[in-house]
Amino acid sequence: MSAIIQLDHLCKDYEVHQKEPGLMGSLRSFVRRKYQLVPAVKDVSFEIEQGEIVGFLGPNGAGKTTTLKVLSGLLYPTSGHARVLGFTPHERKADFLKSITMVMGQKQQLAWDMTPSDSFLVNQAIYDVSDADFRRRLGELTEMLELQPVLNKPVRKLSLGERMKCELAGALLHGPKILFLDEPTIGLDVNMQQAVRRFVADYNVRTGAAVMLTSHYMADVEALAERVLVIDGGQLVFDGNLSALVAERAPNKVLKLQLAHPVSPERLSVFAPVRMMEGLTAELLAPRGKVAEIASRILNDVPVADIAIEDMPIEEVVGRLFQRKPPIEAVREAAK
């Protein structure tokens, strides 16, 4: 099977104008404006095959979104080549655009003052979707995303989550073969996040579409992607299996404690290494396999008001990849 997305030594620079602070600074930059080329993506190559779900991770400004925008044809590469389904994306051929979709946060493709149904009908016509296909897909999407109650309300009256679900439905009505999802769950509550995840996974299974998604939430990536690409500072620093990445780089979960009474860090470090301690809040690092056990021991021993188990923030996982000093070591050093 051959790759449907090929990215070959992609580089993308942005032109940014330098602004100095203050009125005089504004005046100087008005007279002679300094521009700086900021590389957003530096020499990134990868291939993605049909049916794959690939998680695209990296801190803010790492170049994730830029890469997705190049692959979807919104941006011209500064150098390097992209091939998607045999097309050069930035030529934006109609047949190419009909085979992909891109969901970007709350970017509006829904008309604000009209109902989602109105916008969907327009999409149907623009993408030449036959009535039969349209009805079938809309039916499926409505059921899976539970859209029935919102389909005929003006978009401006919908909640953030409802709008996101409608954006997603609108982006999939033409049955794209490739989905570029940029932060598809941002701003959604946990239930909604799960619904979107289930939906994407199911769409992938049913249609064999390839999915590339970026997310701030580790859980999104864990639930969906077997393969992850990690990008940092514009460079690809990891391409491989997610479980390998997690086992290697984020073996711990974060136990967040809200204490009822002050407790010394020493008393907590008996259970697991203390990552952070501030007043009545503490964060401990517990190995994945032992989280539940450690948590129950803590609950028995320590006056805890509240407890939460969370993933390591992606920034930290990625930070480790890049051999930055992970916070835990910094804490240990400070403790010495």
Binding site: L75, L97, M102, Q109, D118, V122, Q124, A125, I126
Partner: protein, 263 residues
């Protein structure tokens, strides 16, 4: 190019949006009343006899149909392009298998459909009050409508071409004012182009401006007839093709600079 079905769907959508802002577009129209104000002035001036071949009836007809032409051709596409480039609102349109201009154009057409039912009665009432009706107007109507449609295209092409500045500079809106001024002032909204001094008229003839408003209006009131009407259509067509080609070339160049700001 989108299918007819797609065009119809987009028109329906934008028509629906415009209807919700009906009250707003009524007020917006008040701001397009310059031709009516000028009509009052010229009618008063013409009380002492015709001016440059225009008598009171001609002035009334000229400015009432000028009002109609002005209300049929306005465009805010530079504003849309500026916002699209700055906030990245262009991105969703670029992802569609259709030139984004179709979306912008249908927004204008949908709004026009909501506005015309208010404008047309206003023109009719104006003609009745000014006692400016003549049956010959009816005969000129088809040519007027065709001329207006071409005029719309010229004006839109002019504006989207200027709108490309949005890709290259921080603020294209300043240039929106420039092109708007030329469209209004040189189009005949204040002074009928025929009443301009001869030298000015002959310079203007080399620009698209008289073909946006003045030409269709003069066809309607019968001040351009016969072969000259055809020649005028030919020149209109020339401007549509020339501006369209220039825009297409510029669009391709400009898109390379699109930075898809925002998300």
């Amino acid at each position: 190019m989108p299918s007819l079905k797609a065009l119809r769907a987009m028109l329906a959508l934008h028509y629906g949006i415009s209807l919700q802002y009906r009250a707003q577009s009524v007020l917006w129209m008040i701001n397009g009343t310059v031709p009516l104000i000028m009509m009052l002035i010229w009618l008063q001036l013409a009380e002492d006899g015709p001016i440059g071949g225009y008598d009171a009836t001609t002035f009334a007809q000229y400015f009432l149909f000028m009002f109609l032409a002005r209300q049929s051709t306005p465009t805010w596409v530079i504003y849309l392009m500026d916002r699209g480039v700055k906030n990245g609102e262009l991105s969703p349109h670029l992802l569609r298998p259709m030139h984004p201009m179709w979306h912008y154009a249908s927004e204008h057409w949908g709004e026009l459909m909501a506005r015309l039912p208010i404008i047309l009665p206003m023109v009719a009432i104006g003609i009745a009050i000014a006692d400016a009706w003549s049956w010959s107007l009816l005969a000129h109507l088809p040519a007027f409508v065709l001329g207006l449609m071409m005029a719309w295209l010229i004006n839109f092409a002019m504006h989207v071409t200027v709108g490309l500045i949005a890709f290259w500079s921080d603020n294209a809106l300043g240039y929106d004012t420039v092109i708007y001024q030329l469209y209004i002032m040189l189009g005949g909204v204040v002074v009928p182009v025929e009443l301009f001094p001869q030298t000015v008229q002959s310079i203007l003839a080399w620009t698209p401006f008289p073909y946006v408003l003045d030409f269709p209006v003069r066809v309607m009131i019968g001040r351009i007839e016969g072969i000259d009407v055809l020649a005028g259509f030919g020149i209109q067509l020339f401007w549509i093709v020339a501006l369209g080609a220039f825009f297409t070339w510029g669009w391709r160049k400009s898109l390379k600079r699109y930075a898809a700001a925002g998300a």
